[in-house]
Each structure stands twice: as structure tokens, then as C-alpha cells.
């Protein structure tokens, strides 16, 4: 029942008519339009909705709006006309914001702390922020920001404040992200923050069965409900799709059969979310339950039920193995024969999920001339654009995809999802815009997270430290559909061959269908799991060969210019420097193996791709395009299809264009992720954006920069070589007193051109990779390298492992903005740490998720997250923009094995199954003693 609500918010009185069952969060967001307060978990588990009530932090999602009596402060209320609050400014300056979605709540918690304690200790900071989960930063830069705010932070800080690399004006300087102040103040608009006139709310009815035939669906009950505008089922969109065009095995809503608990069966659009909820309850679905395939082992058992009967070409599946790869390089048996020691064991990686704090959300709207716009929290607007056109059966020219600000993705938003198709169909049927926002539970069912892998490995080496042979047999639990599975199956073997190389290699990997939510790419797609197994095996091998584990890795490094055993060309590698750095920083030589019982150090190394060499669908067009439009107002607008999902790619584009043109970064605006306005970039996946969009931006910027310098040379009547580019200014090399601002140069250049000043650049596919079937998968124009040392303490009575410190050295080529690179390293390490110690995406015998919410699926808080010490190594890649390579995924890989190896150093037991929960650790310690 709606009734009048009077609230004091940010010093103003608000009167709203809202239902008495609404929370304060609903009243603020959907009643008052104060969308700075975010919704992440539905029910008090994440803290994104934190506001201050009477100066104290409370969860607005668990506060009934009509119960509020005190003064409410939201993120919108912190800034004054004089500027943002010092806490907001400090978060901006320190790079404490990546996706920014948790930050309004985080900043308010920090503000309340500083109001209470002027100069908090590190422990007080951790404690005060411990109800605000952040999935991007690993908290490191957040702590730094709170300390900075406590020390007094100016309300105005220049856009850039670091020193650039030698020979550059912008590149290499520590700088803020392009959009972080908007995120810090609550100005940034995420998909669920968009309210369109007449907008309806959609809901998807989901299957309670893990495997069942759909006998009938009766939607009449829903259609008859007042306030329901449209209803749809699987038959409305029968065209199958898949992000990988070779394996289209999925439909927007289930057709004929459901294959996991939570699969969409029907959808409705109604006047509000409450009505939509009632409407889906009124749909009657008759199911015939089928025996389920609960995991990979069950999938390959003789006589196992088939998850899919027919493939996309109508051919019957013989079994549940949806992809198998078997590749041999060199002579493995000879390699093992030459080995002095062979480590052979099985490792098991439990699945994990992305858990970005922003739930998926999409809005569909059709115009009067039958053109569709979809706003979506996606990291692949281009692929979404293509799949929407295909599945809806409309021309791609009639579809526009806009990616608003995205609240974290990590691979979890890198393919189309049911809600994006449903909002398109429902909005057409309803004749009005339709929004669907997932509940947190639905995010867990959408999943596409890290695959469970059962991994048998053999690794052989000689006394002098050569790794002579590696063999693996990996069984991959794919869940109900393919997703990126074809690639995953290759990656499980292909990406293991550096930076620690070996002479002979055989891998077999099989991905199977099971009746569970579909797995896909999570940060470090396909290779985090085998990296865990392999780097643990290498550690055991070092022990057997009586070699120092760092030394053994050093002896097998793949160096710049070399090819790995499977033919990947390593164009640059800083692995030696990475190993040196973590060895030194951790005092490895004097401490490893010598710490008291219960304390230990462990090392691991890895490499990762900087983009896949080839696009997902074969084509000859550029993989990334950048367009620049200069303007007589003195600014440049950068247009690029790249998706900034919090990693900071918009800023990266601005820095590169600034470097090339001499126009100051603050005079550059980036428009990205809008298929109508921006040239195609394939999206934020496989760590490709800095490398590929960076090259495109460099090219576009160079053309624009040349036009500007030519115009200045024309004005001064000198040769263009005399015109020197600075930051925001051009000067005469021979007459330094003569200069002109970049803003004025833009006007000159436009006049000289006689047309608007534009330029374009692209990243064109480079032919790389091995000359064998599958040799292009895993091929990348450049590879990053990483080495970590972890220090752990293990309580041998409880089994509780604490990760005390992680020294993470990462070779990202040139760090275009070291602050953002550090953020990527810290965030990656955090995520790996979480997978190692607590995260487990598990299901019971019924195929039911063990707890699809952020209370049961635990992601680390500020309290237990370790200290991360990020160290940047710059190998300067010959092909990357200014030598840059990836930083967003590589640094995750070594964390899990480094922790496992540190536990072995601490208490002498080898853990081969993650997560390393205390009961498992304790059992292993006891088994080791007996």
C-alpha cells in the first residue's frame, strides 16, 4: 500500500508516495531518483546500498523507508558547491575506484569513520569498511585513499599528477581514471540507474528442475493479471546462438527442455517489479523431470543421460563430451625417460564465479520506426549487437547497443544473456521500454564462471633443472551449454607453455555438458586451473630434484624472441625480472624453508595473452577502431567501441590521444561502447583492449597530431620538424619563447583543413600462432609474464590459513598509467586469493546451487584480504602501444599455486584441491603426521 513518506535527505525534505513495503534504497533510487546508492546483493550482504542515517552507516536495502526518522545522507549529499568531499577526491586521486559500483557505500562508510576518528589506524580503516564488499581493487588503494583523506586532501587536484616515462608527456604518469570522480560522487549512470518514461519491468520465470522436458506452458494466468503488458516463452525466440559462432547450442529461453536449475522458461513485462513477480508465479509449466548429470565424472560415466540430444546441425550427440582437444608437441615419452624425477598427481579446481557487485541489467526500447535500442551492462557490446540481430531476425542496422557504466564484469558479462533478448521482445510486445534487473540469485544462475577442472598432471625434470616433459589429462565441467567452451578446452592446455617452458608436451582436455549453470570465461579464462596444478607440480619437482623452486623456474624460462613448445611466439618477457623482484622483496633466500613451523613462503609464475590473435568470428576488418573528432572549442572527442568495465580503458584511450596530439587529457572526452556512435572494438575480453584499442588510438592520434603540427608550422612559416609537442602546448624548437596552446592549434588546423578535423586508426589482425589445427587458439600478439611470492601462516590446530602478504611482480610491457596497472595487479591477486581460500561455486545432487547469494558465496572483506605489494616490470613489447601488454588477468594466475606452495613450506603438506578450507588443511596436516 502506497502512503506518503517524508524524508530528510541531504539537508532537504522529500515527500514521496511509496509503498510501505519499500526499503529506503527503493525509495531513494526509484522514488527520489537518487541513484547514487547502489543495489548489489538484495539483502544486506554487500554494503553497496550504504547510506548514513543520523551520521551512521546503515544498509538502506534492509531499512524500511517508512521507518526512517533521522537525517539521511547519500553519496549525492557529500559534495558541496566548492567541490567533492575530501574522501571522494582521495578515492579519485588514489585510483581507489575501478568499476565504482561499491564505492558510494564505501565512501560513506569511510566518511562516517573519519567523522568519528580523525586519524584512524590501519586496523580501524579495515574494520570500518568491512561491511562494504569491493570486487575490483583488493582494497589496497581504498585503504590508501582513506589515509589520504584523513591526512587532508585538497578538493581540487590536477587531472594528472605523476611523472611520465622518459621521452613522454603523458604515458607512464600515474593518473586518475577518466570517470572516477563521477563514480565517486554518484553521478555515473549504470544501467539500472536509467529510468525511461512509461518503462515497464520484466521478470524471467526460471526452471526449478536441473533437467526436465517442458510438456506445456500456460501463460494465461499471467496475461490476465492487471498491469501485465507482455508475456513470452522460448518459442518466441527459437534461434540458437553462442558467443562462439561454431557452437550455437543455446536459446534465449528454454525450448523443449531445461538443462539447469535457474534456466529461463518464460518472461513477462508489467507495470512494476512486484506485479511482474506475481505474473511469473501465475505461469503454469508442466515438466517431465529427467535424470540429471551432476558433474563431469557423471557426464562421462557409461550410460549417462544426455544433456543435449542433438547438436546445432541436428546430429545426435554420442555422449556428453562437447569438445575434446588432444595435442602433442615433441616426444613426451622420451622426455619422461630422460627425467631424473617425475611428479604425477591429480589436482582439482572447484568452480568459482565472478560476483561483480553490479547485477546484470538491460533495457530494451523500440522506436516508432522499428529500431531497437538495448542498454546493457555488457562487456561485449559489439557481439551483443550481432547476436541480437541474429536471434531477433532483424537487420543489424536496426539495432543499437549502448553500454552504460558497468559495475564490474570480470568475464561475467562477456556474452549475450537471456535478459537482453527478453527486454527486446517484451518491449516490442508491450509497446514501451522494458527493464530487467537480475536478482543476485539470477546472477549466480547466469554464471559463465570458472570451470571446475579435474586435472591429472605428470611433470618430469632432470637434476640440472631442465623440465623435460609435461603431460596432462583434464576433465572440464562445462555446465549446460557451450559458451566460450571451445576456447576454454584449448586454453586449458595451450596457455601453459610459458614463461616456465618445457621440451615435450602432451595434453588432452575434454569439456563435458552437465546439468548446471553454464561455465565460461572468468578473469584468466581457461588457464588459471591448469596453472594451479602445473605450478604446484613444478614446486614438488624442485623438492624432488633438491633445487630452489625459483631457480628451477629460472632455468626453464622462455625468453624474448623464442617460441614455446606449442609454437607461441614470445615477443617480450620480463619473467626473469619478475622472479628477481619477488625473490628480493620477500627475502626469499634467507627465509624460504627457514621460517618457523606454521609460516611459509611459496612461489609461482605464469604468462597470459594480450588479446586473442584472431576475432571470434572470422573477418578481415580491424579488431579495434578509434575515431577522433576535434572541435574548435579546443577539445578532442574519442570514439571507440571498447567497453570500459572499470579497468579504465576510457582513460587509456584519452592518455594515448593526449600523448599523440599534445592536447591535455582534461580536454579529451571519450565516448565508448555505443554501437551507433563508436567504431567497432570487439570488447573487453581476453585482455585485449589496451593492446588493440591502444594501437588504434595511437594511429588515430598520430594522424591528428600531424595535422595540428602542420597547422602550427603553417602559422609560423617553419618546417614542421621545428614544431615541438608538449602537454597542451606546441613550441618552436629553435625559438622556445614562441608557443601556441593546443586549443588554439585545433582552431588553426580546422581552418587549414576546411573540413571538420577528424582522424581514424585501427588494429589489424596480425598473423601469429602455430601451424596446426588449434594453433591459432592461445596465439596472441604478446604475452605478459608474472611471478608471485606468497607468505602464509597456518594455524596447525585449526587449519586456518592466513595469507599475510603477496609480492606480485607483473610484466605489463610499458605501464601506460602505473596506478591503473597496480590496480589491475591488486585486483587480480585479490580474486585469486579468494578462489584459493574460500570461494566454491558448488551444487548438490539435485543440481541446486549451494547458496546463490553473497552471504553463502563468500567473497573476502577488507578484514582478511592480505597486503598486496604490486611491482611493475616493463619489458617494452615491440608490438604493443608504446610497448604495453596486458595487466588485467595475468596477475591472477600464480596466486593459487603460490599459496599452495607456501602452505607446503609452512606445514609440509601439499593441497591439491581448492579452496583450501580449514577443515581440509587440518585433515591434511593430520594425515601428514600419521
Amino acid at each position: 500500500m502506497k502512503s506518503l513518506l517524508t524524508l530528510r535527505v541531504n539537508g532537504e525534505s522529500l515527500s514521496l508516495a511509496v509503498p510501505e513495503s519499500w526499503t529506503l534504497l527503493e525509495a531513494l533510487r526509484y522514488g527520489a531518483g537518487l541513484t547514487g546508492s547502489k543495489q548489489g546483493c538484495d539483502k544486506g550482504d554487500c554494503g553497496a546500498c550504504t547510506v548514513l542515517l543520523g551520521g551512521k552507516p546503515v544498509l538502506s536495502c534492509l531499512t524500511l523507508a517508512h521507518s526512517v526518522r533521522g537525517e539521511v545522507t547519500t553519496i549525492e549529499g557529500l559534495a558541496t558547491p566548492a567541490g567533492p568531499d575530501p574522501v571522494q577526491r582521495a578515492f579519485d586521486v588514489c585510483g581507489a575506484l575501478q568499476c565504482g559500483f561499491c564505492q558510494p557505500g564505501m565512501i560513506l562508510s569511510a566518511r562516517a569513520l573519519l567523522n568519528r576518528v580523525g586519524k584512524p589506524t590501519d586496523g580501524e580503516i579495515r574494520e570500518a569498511l568491512s561491511g562494504n564488499l569491493c570486487r575490483c581493487t583488493g582494497y589496497t588503494k581504498i585503504f590508501e585513499a582513506v589515509r589520504m583523506a584523513a591526512d587532508g586532501c585538497e578538493r581540487h587536484v590536477p587531472v594528472r599528477y605523476g611523472t611520465p616515462s622518459t621521452g613522454f608527456d603523458v604515458i607512464g604518469a600515474r593518473g586518475r581514471k577518466a570517470d572516477s570522480i563521477h563514480k565517486a560522487t554518484g553521478e555515473a549512470v549504470y544501467t539500472d540507474d536509467i529510468q525511461l518514461p512509461r518503462m515497464a519491468h520484466g521478470k524471467i520465470l526460471r526452471s526449478p528442475h536441473a533437467h526436465a522436458r517442458i510438456l506445456s506452458i500456460d501463460t494465461t494466468g499471467a496475461e490476465a493479471l492487471p498491469g501485465v503488458f507482455a508475456v513470452m516463452t522460448g518459442v518466441d525466440l527459437p534461434t540458437a546462438y553462442c558467443i562462439i559462432p561454431w557452437t550455437p547450442d543455446e536459446t534465449a529461453l528454454a525450448v523443449g527442455k531445461v538443462r539447469y536449475v535457474g534456466e529461463g522458461v518464460a518472461a513477462v513485462a508489467a507495470v512494476d517489479e512486484e506485479t511482474a513477480n506475481r505474473a511469473i508465479q501465475a505461469i503454469k509449466v508442466e515438466y517431465e523431470p529427467l535424470p540429471i548429470v551432476k558433474d563431469a565424472e557423471a557426464a562421462i560415466a557409461p550410460g549417462a543421460p544426455l544433456v543435449h540430444e542433438l547438436d546445432w546441425k541436428g546430429r545426435p550427440w554420442a555422449d556428453n563430451v562437447c569438445k575434446e582437444v588432444d595435442l602433442r608437441f615433441g616426444d613426451v615419452e622420451a622426455g619422461f625417460a630422460n627425467a631424473d624425477a617425475v611428479v604425477e598427481n591429480r589436482w582439482f579446481y572447484e568452480g568459482s564465479t565472478h560476483a561483480a557487485i553490479e547485477p546484470h541489467c538491460a533495457i530494451g526500447q523500440w522506436s516508432a520506426d522499428h529500431k531497437l535500442t538495448v542498454w546493457s551492462a555488457t562487456q561485449v557490446s559489439h557481439y551483443l549487437h550481432r547476436e541480437l540481430a541474429k536471434v531477433l531476425g532483424v537487420g543489424a542496422q536496426d539495432v543499437r547497443v549502448i553500454q552504460p557504466v558497468v559495475g564490474g564484469a570480470f568475464g561475467g558479462k562477456s556474452e549475450p544473456f537471456d535478459l537482453e533478448f527478453c527486454v527486446a521482445v517484451l518491449s516490442k510486445k508491450a509497446g514501451r521500454p522494458v527493464k530487467i534487473l537480475y536478482t543476485r540469485e539470477e546472477v549466480f544462475y547466469a554464471h559463465r564462471g570458472r570451470h571446475p577442472m579435474d586435472m591429472a598432471f605428470r611433470v618430469g625434470g632432470t637434476k640440472d633443472g631442465r623440465i623435460t616433459a609435461v603431460e596432462s589429462d583434464i576433465l572440464i565441467d562445462g555446465g549446460a551449454y557451450h559458451s566460450f567452451g571451445l576456447v576454454t578446452t584449448y586454453y586449458a592446455g595451450q596457455l601453459l607453455t610459458g614463461p616456465v617452458g618445457f621440451e615435450n608436451y602432451h595434453f588432452r582436455s575434454r569439456r563435458v555438458y552437465t546439468n548446471k549453470p553454464c561455465c565460461g570465461p572468468k578473469r584468466g579464462h581457461g588457464s588459471v586451473q591448469p596453472r594451479f596444478a602445473f605450478e604446484c607440480a613444478v614446486d614438488e619437482l624442485a623438492e624432488r630434484l633438491e633445487l630452489d623452486p625459483i631457480e628451477l623456474r629460472r632455468k626453464n624460462m622462455v625468453t624474448a624472441g623464442e617460441r614455446t613448445v606449442n609454437g607461441l611466439l614470445v615477443t617480450s618477457s620480463g619473467i626473469a625480472e619478475c622472479l628477481d623482484a619477488v625473490e628480493r622483496a620477500s627475502a626469499w633466500k634467507s627465509r624460504r624453508g627457514k621460517l618457523p613451523y606454521g609460516r611459509g613462503l611459496g612461489v609461482a609464475a605464469s604468462m597470459y595473452i594480450s588479446g586473442t590473435a584472431y576475432p571470434i568470428y572470422p573477418n578481415e576488418m580491424p579488431q579495434s577502431g578509434v575515431m577522433l573528432r576535434a572541435d574548435r572549442s579546443g577539445k578532442i572527442t574519442v570514439f571507440c567501441g571498447a567497453n570500459d568495465i572499470g579497468q579504465g580503458s576510457d582513460g587509456m584511450l584519452a592518455y594515448i590521444v593526449a600523448e599523440e596530439t599534445g592536447v591535455s587529457p582534461e580536454d579529451i572526452t571519450v565516448v565508448s561502447g555505443d554501437t551507433e556512435l563508436t567504431p567497432v572494438d570487439l570488447g573487453s575480453y581476453s585482455s585485449r583492449v589496451t593492446f588493440m584499442a591502444g594501437i588504434a588510438a595511437q594511429e588515430a592520434g598520430r594522424t591528428m597530431g600531424t595535422a595540428l603540427r602542420n597547422a602550427v608550422a603553417g602559422l609560423w612559416q617553419v618546417h614542421v620538424d621545428r614544431v615541438a609537442k608538449g602537454l597542451g602546448v606546441y613550441s618552436d624548437r629553435e625559438d622556445p619563447a614562441r608557443s601556441i596552446s593546443a586549443r588554439d592549434a585545433l582552431i588553426l588546423a580546422e581552418a587549414a583543413a576546411g573540413t571538420p578535423l577528424v582522424s581514424a586508426g585501427g588494429y589489424r589482425t596480425r598473423k601469429v600462432g602455430g601451424e596446426y589445427r588449434g594453433g591459432t587458439i592461445g596465439a596472441s600478439p604478446a604475452y605478459s609474464a608474472t611471478a608471485h611470492v606468497c607468505e602464509v601462516s597456518v594455524d596447525a590446530e585449526t587449519g586456518i590459513v592466513r595469507v599475510e602478504k603477496v609480492w606480485a611482480a607483473h610484466d605489463c610491457g610499458r605501464a601506460l598509467n602505473p596506478q591503473l596497472v597496480e590496480g589491475q595487479i591488486e585486483g587480480s591477486v585479490y580474486m585469486g586469493y579468494a578462489e584459493a581460500l574460500m570461494e566454491a561455486h558448488t551444487f548438490d545432487e539435485r543440481g541446486l546451487h549451494s547458496g546463490p547469494n553473497l552471504l553463502d558465496y563468500r567473497i573476502p572483506t577488507s578484514m582478511e584480504s592480505p597486503d598486496f605489494i604490486a611491482q611493475i616490470v616493463e619489458s617494452i613489447d615491440p608490438g604493443g602501444p608504446y610497448g604495453a601488454k596486458e595487466a588485467g588477468e595475468g596477475p591472477l594466475h600464480p596466486v593459487i599455486p603460490a599459496i599452495a606452495n607456501a602452505i607446503a613450506d609452512a606445514v609440509g603438506v601439499r593441497l591439491r584441491r581448492i579452496p583450501f578450507t580449514p577443515d581440509r588443511v587440518l585433515a591434511a596436516i593430520r594425515a601428514g603426521r600419521s
Binding site: K43, L64, T861
Partner: protein
């Protein structure tokens, strides 16, 4: 977003007003901090037509002849910071400071923590999830998935403050349709996860009275959980005693978050009056281990949680005896 639907909210400024509002609508429910009730409403576990807000009633701590009197409406963060609590009832403040997250402690009340519904991984889930499960004994179903049977619900009493209050022998002041009464907190809980509070319908907890501990009081609360914030306990252990040097004159140990009823450890009297040496500590830990039977309603291996009860006991007593 999970939405709630179908109830009205009325704000009460006093216990009497709350009771009157409750009487006005059958099936009404009280809401104080709302940090547990609202998730449960969002999960469709209850469908009250009326919510009576008691969060606006003043909290506070005061001393009276028969002990320290804490208003049930006292916020957990205020309780943890209260000078009287810190001075006299440190383990209670310690337990309050370990509840959930800072935001939840700002909102949640001591009364809510004492009256907290039992929890179970098969119960505290969405309506959709529970439908897919086929429901459970505690809500709409006929089967307990933890023990695998149709008879007993073993959802866990999971409050952090409760083991300490039991160890301290707190008394509860209640007001209800039948009038006022006082009840020892040890009488409040029963071993039935579906109905774990011995209360009559509509009864409200107004005050918690803790006998003032004498000289030589030492106590502690230890919480087992995966993360150092947000999480409910996998096990909570309260140890409170009167000590002379290393000799306990009185000793109470309560284990929480193992079953519907907090476990008051029996047989500790045998250890009173003599210095607590390592052998005695080990014997008490063994006693705690024997009497603790953690149910699988809470995450984490039950056998391991049981072992942790012994480890926590040994560590707590080791620290306490000096």
C-alpha cells in the same frame, strides 16, 4: 532486486504502543533493526500483513540493584561501545562487536539478536530456491534436509551475544498480551528449530538484565567464521568465570551456532576450587567436545566445527587462567 510486498508498516514509540498495534492485526510481526527480518521477508519466509516498528524505542544501559539492565532496543554498536558494558561485561561487548558488519551493528538491536530466528542453509534462501528444493520442514515442507528426516528441525540459533548472555545467567523482561513476566535466558531456548523460543504469541523482549559480575570476573567470546566480518558464526564459544589467580570459583561455558538451542556445558563444577593446570584445561576441552554436536544447518564441516569448540575452549581457558 528482491522486492517485498503486501504489508503495511506502523511505527511504535513505546513497548505498550507496539503491543497495542500487534493486537490490532492477527499475524503482525515486530521489526526492530530489520537486519534479519527483512531478508526473511524478501525470501518469502513470512507474509505478515502488518509490521510493527519497534526500532524507534530508546535503547540504553543502566545499573539497577539486581544488575545491569540493557534495553532490548539498544543497538549492537552502542552496546559494544557502552562504558558500563566495557567495564563490567566485556565479553558481551566483544560478542556484540563481532556481529555481522559495521552497518548491521548500527541497525540491529540486542533484543533482535536474542530473539533471532534460527538459521539453516536450506531455509535462509529465496522462495524460488526453496521451491526447487521442495521446501523444508521449517517452512512449507515436510523434510529436514540436514538430518534427512521428517521429525526434527535443527536450524541453528546463531546469535553472537546469546552464548555470553547464557554464560552470564541473564534474565529477560518480557511484555505480552498476558502481561509482564521475567524469564531466565537459559529457559528461553528449546531444541526445536521450528519453534526454538518458549514465548507466547505477541510477547516482546523489553529488557535484558545481567547480574553484576563480582570481583575476579573474567570472560571471553570466540567466534568461528570464514571471513572476519559479515558472516554468521559457524561456532561461538563463551567462557565466563569468577577467578582467583588461576583458580576458577565459578565457570560457565556456552557453545552457540551448533543447534536450535545454545549448549550450556555441564560438569564444570568438578574443576572449581583448584588451579586450572594443563591437564584440567585439556579435560574441560574434552568435555566441551563431547557435549558439542554441531548440526549441518550451518556451513563448514560439522566434525571440524566440533573440534574447534575444543580448541577454542583450550585457548580461552589458557588465556584466562593467566
Amino acid at each position: 532486486m528482491l522486492r517485498m510486498d503486501g504489508f503495511v508498516y506502523r511505527h511504535a514509540s513505546s513497548w505498550e504502543e507496539a503491543l497495542a498495534l500487534w493486537r490490532s492485526a492477527p499475524g503482525a510481526q515486530y521489526v526492530a533493526g530489520g537486519t534479519d527480518l527483512l531478508p526473511n521477508l524478501k525470501h518469502g519466509l513470512f507474509a505478515p500483513k502488518l509490521l510493527v516498528g519497534i526500532g524507534g524505542i530508546p535503547g540504553g544501559v543502566r545499573r539497577e540493584a539486581d544488575g545491569i539492565v540493557i534495553s532490548a532496543a539498544t543497538r549492537l554498536d552502542d552496546l559494544a561501545a557502552d562504558p558500563t558494558i566495557r567495564e563490567l561485561l566485556a565479553p558481551l561487548g566483544q560478542a556484540a562487536a563481532l556481529v555481522a558488519s559495521p552497518q548491521i551493528r548500527t541497525m540491529a538491536t540486542l533484543g533482535g539478536n536474542v530473539m533471532l530466528d534460527t538459521r539453516c542453509m536450506y531455509y535462509n534462501q529465496t522462495l524460488f530456491w526453496r521451491q526447487a528444493l521442495g521446501y523444508c520442514l521449517k517452512a512449507e515442507g515436510t523434510w529436514c534436509h540436514v538430518v534427512g528426516g521428517p521429525k526434527t528441525c535443527v536450524a541453528s540459533q546463531s546469535s553472537d551475544t546469546v552464548p555470553v548472555l547464557l554464560a552470564l545467567g541473564a534474565r529477560l523482561r518480557l511484555v505480552g498480551p498476558e502481561g509482564r513476566r521475567e524469564l531466565g535466558i537459559r529457559e528461553l531456548y528449546q531444541y526445536n528449530g521450528m519453534d526454538h523460543l518458549r514465548l507466547t504469541a505477541g510477547e516482546l523482549l523489553t529488557e535484558v538484565v545481567v547480574p553484576a559480575p563480582g570481583a575476579g570476573f573474567r570472560g571471553s567470546y570466540t567466534k568461528l567464521r570464514t571471513r572476519d566480518s559479515i558472516d554468521f558464526p559457524q561456532l561461538g564459544l563463551a567462557v565466563c568465570g569468577q577467578w582467583e589467580g588461576s583458580t576458577p570459583r565459578a565457570l560457565e561455558i556456552v557453545v552457540g551456532a551448533v543447534s536450535p538451542q545454545p549448549k550450556l556445558v555441564r560438569g564444570l563444577d568438578a574443576f572449581l576450587g583448584a588451579p586450572l593446570d594443563d591437564v584440567a584445561v585439556a579435560a574441560i576441552a574434552d568435555l566441551v567436545h563431547k557435549q558439542t554436536r554441531p548440526q549441518g544447518s550451518v556451513h563448514g564441516d560439522s566434525n571440524w566445527r566440533r573440534q574447534m569448540a575444543a580448541v577454542f575452549t583450550r585457548r580461552a581457558l589458557g588465556a584466562m587462567r593467566g
